[in-house]
Amino acid sequence: MLKIKNINTYYGKLHALKNISLHVGAGEIVALIGANGAGKTTILNTISAVTPPSNGEIHFEGNAIHNLSSDGIVRRGISQVPEGRQIFKPFSVEDNLELGAYLRYRSREKRREIQQDKETVYALFPQLLERRKQLAGTLSGGEQQMLAIGRALMAKPKLLLLDEPAMGLAPILVQEIFRVIEELRSRRGTSVLLVEQNARVALKVADRGYVLETGKVILEETASELLANKDVQRAYLGKDKKEIWER
């Protein structure tokens, strides 16, 4: 469904992504793992054209999308949940959700559809329903994350780009967020490309993963293989710490 071939992205002179190739199949959950600065978020930002690639190809459902602008990419069915949520804090929960459907807002007949989509989001995250009139800035961290995901879903994406959804959340909330991600896949067939520091949680829900290091892919394996890989365990799962020091 998503196919990336040899993308290179620069921040000024900094070569952040070096010939990255990866793919996400229909209904697949794929995790990107790696240390800080490895290029995980840059990959998501490159797909969504926030930081467009200098060269390389990105195909979505068979069509090239690497020359599209961000709104064009949302129109094709790719939504990003950015790191740090980036919700509109002075707006109500409901307004935030409606903003997620901005592509459809101008058409009268689609308004009803938007209403229904909001109901679906509320069904996924009942807490948001309780707080729909509340200002988004007054929500807890977990609720803000739910809102950010809910807002992305309002664009009816076929592929969801999730950047650090578990960051700063209590373990119980992390579980809740990942339950929803799995539900989205099983109920709607939404594909997910997931960036997560918490590699253990990410690999539990993911089907496959790519390990990144300084802008390069160094490993592509199934999630269970990655969990069993000693390099991954040491570097990203916090195991064997003592042995690193002895090395």
Partner: protein, 433 residues
Amino acid sequence: MKIWDTKYECMPREELEQLQLERLQATLNRAYKNVAFYRKMFHDSNIIPEDMRELSGLARIPFTTKEDLRLNYPYGMFAVPLREVVRVHSSSGTTEKSVVVGYTKNDIKAWTNLVARVMTAAGVTRDDMVQITFSYGLYTGAFGFHYGAEAIGASVIPTGTGNTDKQIMIMQDYKTTALVSTPTYAVTLSDRMEKLNVNPKGLSLRVGLFGGEPLSETMRKEIEDRLGIAATDNYGLSEIIGPGVAGECEHRCGMHIFEDAFIPEIIDPLTGVPLPPGSVGELVLTTLTKEAFPMIRYRTGDLTSLEFAPCKCGRTMVRMNKTMGRSDDMLIIKGVNVFPSQIRTVLTAIVGTEPHYEIVIDRRGAKDCMEIHIEAAEGIFFDEMKMQKAFLEMVEKKIRSVIGLSATVKLVAPNTVTRKEGKSGLVIDRRTM
């Protein structure tokens, strides 16, 4: 017949190429990072591993040879620390220092899955009793087939090598349905059965998987006729993973190479230049998923050709033809690459069995010439000069059509051609360079 891993074995070529590129890029980056040999190789040839943008770019990377593996004996080529290696095997090299290969937990899992594909393609199912007569030791053969059979759910009888009488008894009593052995040992088994008055057709045996040495078509036919089984061919080598590199499907039109795990190339053994699809040359393999022992452009030394046309079985994976010998055996006569095995195949096809013969190459003036001396024997004996002449002309014509060179064929008296350890078919090269 069933396919073990349809997701990969039947993957559309376009998807497969994307997967290969992703895995190749990751393998190169990983090998560069973790193996001093590859880091030096990339530096020396001025290649930056992350610059690999296309599968065809692989051709720019130097080869890895068996000599490289020997120089890095024992652990120099490992890409992970030894504590992550859960298994060590050794190649069946006959030379003093063989090659040591290692596997991580994930490598063993991947290997198991690959051999399960080979065995499923050969027709093994969970209902089979698989008797493994390979040596359970340093070699990869026995363990590879053992894991593959268990993954399928078949019952494994790990008899190991030797004790032919006991092997036959087990085969009868345990109701073995699948035999894993070398082709030679399958013949030994049927010889022994004849002596013991055991009727092979009365056994439950129905399929054979062979390894350790090439399964020639004459050998295959003999085994099938005498043991009453379907004899299937597969390909593997321990430097790459062991068995599980390629396996034959029910259509018997070459062995499917599992391209999600290996990239095959065919090169000219002399110049190292990649050859177009269909040409005969040396097989070069690059591993795509191995963690402990990645191999980049490993020269297998085996001569074969690749067949990219889709196969009726539904697998999209390329097929390799039966290996035609070793590239070190290749002769160059009048600038043409000639493999002694081609001559053997021609002679065997004409005579019916393998005759005793020798190939003599000489230089007359500036020209190379080839003579083939065949010993007269039962079946190749003629009272009439005319018939003999016709036979020799027929052989010459056939050889010319197969190798594209003319050779003089002569009939000689029994027991006059050169033999080595009882084997004939040797090449005597009298040319002085």
